[in-house]
C-alpha cells in the first residue's frame, strides 16, 4: 500500500503509513500527501544532444506525438477517400466538420469564414486530443496543462488574426480601427484607446493560453487529489471504507466531469479564435 502511494505521489510518505497508524508510529510526516506542482514535472525518458540543443523527451512530448499521429490517422481515414455512402469514421468526421462549420465558423464569422474552417477544425481537434489525454488510461496527463503547448497555440492564433487584420484593413488602419471605435465620445477615447489596444494585443492571447492551461491544470490536480485520497484512505476501518469509497466515487464522477470540461475548453478555444478572426475581418469595427 505504501509502495502504491509512493509510486502514485512520488515521495513524502513513510512506508507502512496508514490513517490509523498516524498518531502512534508516525507522529509527524504521515499526513495526506497532497499532490502539488511536482506531478506536472516528468523525468526525461530519452535524452540526446543534437545541433547544440539538448533534447529531453519526456512523457508530455510523447503524448503530444501520439496525439498528432492519432489526429493524422483520424483525418486520413475520415477524409482521404470520401465515399458517397459514408463509412463509420467518415460520418464521424463529417459530423465534426459540420459542427465546426455551422456552430462555430458560420455563427461567428459568417460565410467569409469558410476558408478558415480547416484551421479551426485542426485547432479544435488538436486541443481536444491533447485535453482528452488527461483521462485516457496509461496516458492520463493532459499536455495542455503545461504552459508551452497552449502558449504555442495562442501564438499561432495571435499571428493569424493579426495578419488577417493587417491584410484586410491595412497595417495602420487595423490599429486605428481597433483603438478608436466609431461612435465613441472624444473624451472617453483617451481611456478607451489604450485599454482596447492592450486587450487586443496582449490580453487576448494571454487569456486564451492561460484559460486552457489553468483548466487542464486544475482538472488534473483535482483528479489526482481524489485518486491519491482513495488509495491513501484505503483500510479496514470505518473512516477508511467510507473515505476511500467516497473518494473513488468522486474520482469516477470527476473523470466524467473532466471529459465535459475538456470538450468545452476545446470548443471555447476554437470559438474565441473564430471570434478574434471575425473581429479582424470586419471593416467598420
Amino acid at each position: 500500500m505504501a509502495d502504491l502511494i509512493t509510486t502514485t505521489v512520488g515521495s513524502g510518505v513513510p512506508p507502512g503509513c496508514h490513517l490509523e497508524t498516524k498518531s502512534e508510529q508516525f507522529p509527524d510526516g504521515c499526513g495526506f500527501p497532497a499532490p502539488g506542482v511536482d506531478i506536472f514535472q516528468f523525468e526525461p525518458i530519452v535524452s540526446f544532444h543534437l545541433f547544440g540543443i539538448d533534447f529531453n523527451i519526456g512523457k508530455p512530448i510523447l503524448i503530444v506525438f501520439i496525439c498528432s499521429v492519432l489526429m493524422l490517422l483520424f483525418f486520413f481515414f475520415a477524409f482521404a477517400k470520401p465515399k458517397l455512402v459514408p463509412t463509420k469514421i467518415q460520418s464521424l468526421g463529417e459530423l465534426a466538420y459540420t459542427f465546426i462549420r455551422d456552430q462555430i465558423s458560420r455563427e461567428t464569422i459568417g460565410k467569409a469564414g469558410d476558408k478558415f474552417i480547416p484551421f479551426l477544425f485542426t485547432l479544435f481537434f488538436f486541443v481536444f486530443f491533447m485535453n482528452v489525454m488527461g483521462i485516457i488510461p496509461f496516458a492520463q496527463f493532459p499536455p495542455s496543462a503545461l504552459f508551452v503547448y497552449p502558449v504555442m497555440l495562442a501564438m499561432m492564433v495571435w499571428v493569424t488574426y493579426m495578419y488577417i487584420g493587417m491584410k484586410k484593413q491595412g497595417p495602420v488602419k487595423f490599429f486605428t480601427n481597433m483603438m478608436f471605435p466609431p461612435g465613441v465620445p472624444k473624451g472617453v477615447l483617451g481611456i478607451l484607446a489604450p485599454i482596447e489596444f492592450l486587450s487586443n494585443i496582449l490580453v487576448r492571447p494571454f487569456t486564451l493560453a492561460v484559460r486552457l492551461m489553468a483548466n487542464m491544470f486544475a482538472g488534473h490536480l483535482l483528479l489526482t487529489v481524489f485518486i491519491v485520497a482513495s488509495v491513501y484512505l484505503m483500510s479496514f476501518t470505518a473512516v477508511g471504507i467510507i473515505g476511500s469509497t467516497a473518494s473513488f466515487v468522486m474520482t469516477v464522477i470527476m473523470t466524467a466531469f473532466e471529459f465535459m470540461i475538456e470538450a468545452l475548453q476545446a470548443y471555447i478555444f476554437t470559438l474565441l479564435t473564430a471570434s478574434y478572426i471575425a473581429g479582424s475581418l470586419v471593416n467598420e469595427h
Partner: protein
C-alpha cells in the same frame, strides 16, 4: 504601535483563490442566468445567444483561473 487583532493562517494561495473566485462566480451566474432567460424568450436566436454567452463566460472565468494559477507562479 500596531497590535495584531486578526490573523489568517494556512495556505495564503488558497485564501487568494477563494477571494479571486467571488467576482467571476457572480459574473458567470449572471451570464448564464441571463443567457438562459434570453434563450427562453427568443428560442430562434439560440445560436447567437449561446455563442456570446460562451465568450462572456470565457472572459469572466479567466479571472478565476488567474487566481488559481497565481499562487503556483509566485510560490
Amino acid at each position: 504601535m500596531l497590535s495584531l487583532i486578526a490573523e489568517v493562517s494556512g495556505n495564503l494561495g488558497a485564501v487568494g483563490y477563494g477571494l479571486a473566485a467571488i467576482g467571476p462566480g457572480i459574473g458567470i451566474g449572471l451570464i448564464f442566468g441571463n443567457g438562459v432567460q434570453a434563450i427562453a424568450r427568443q428560442p430562434e436566436a439560440y445560436g447567437v445567444i449561446r455563442q456570446n454567452m460562451f465568450i462572456g463566460f470565457a472572459l469572466a472565468e479567466a479571472l478565476a483561473l488567474l487566481g488559481f494559477v497565481a499562487p503556483f507562479v509566485f510560490s
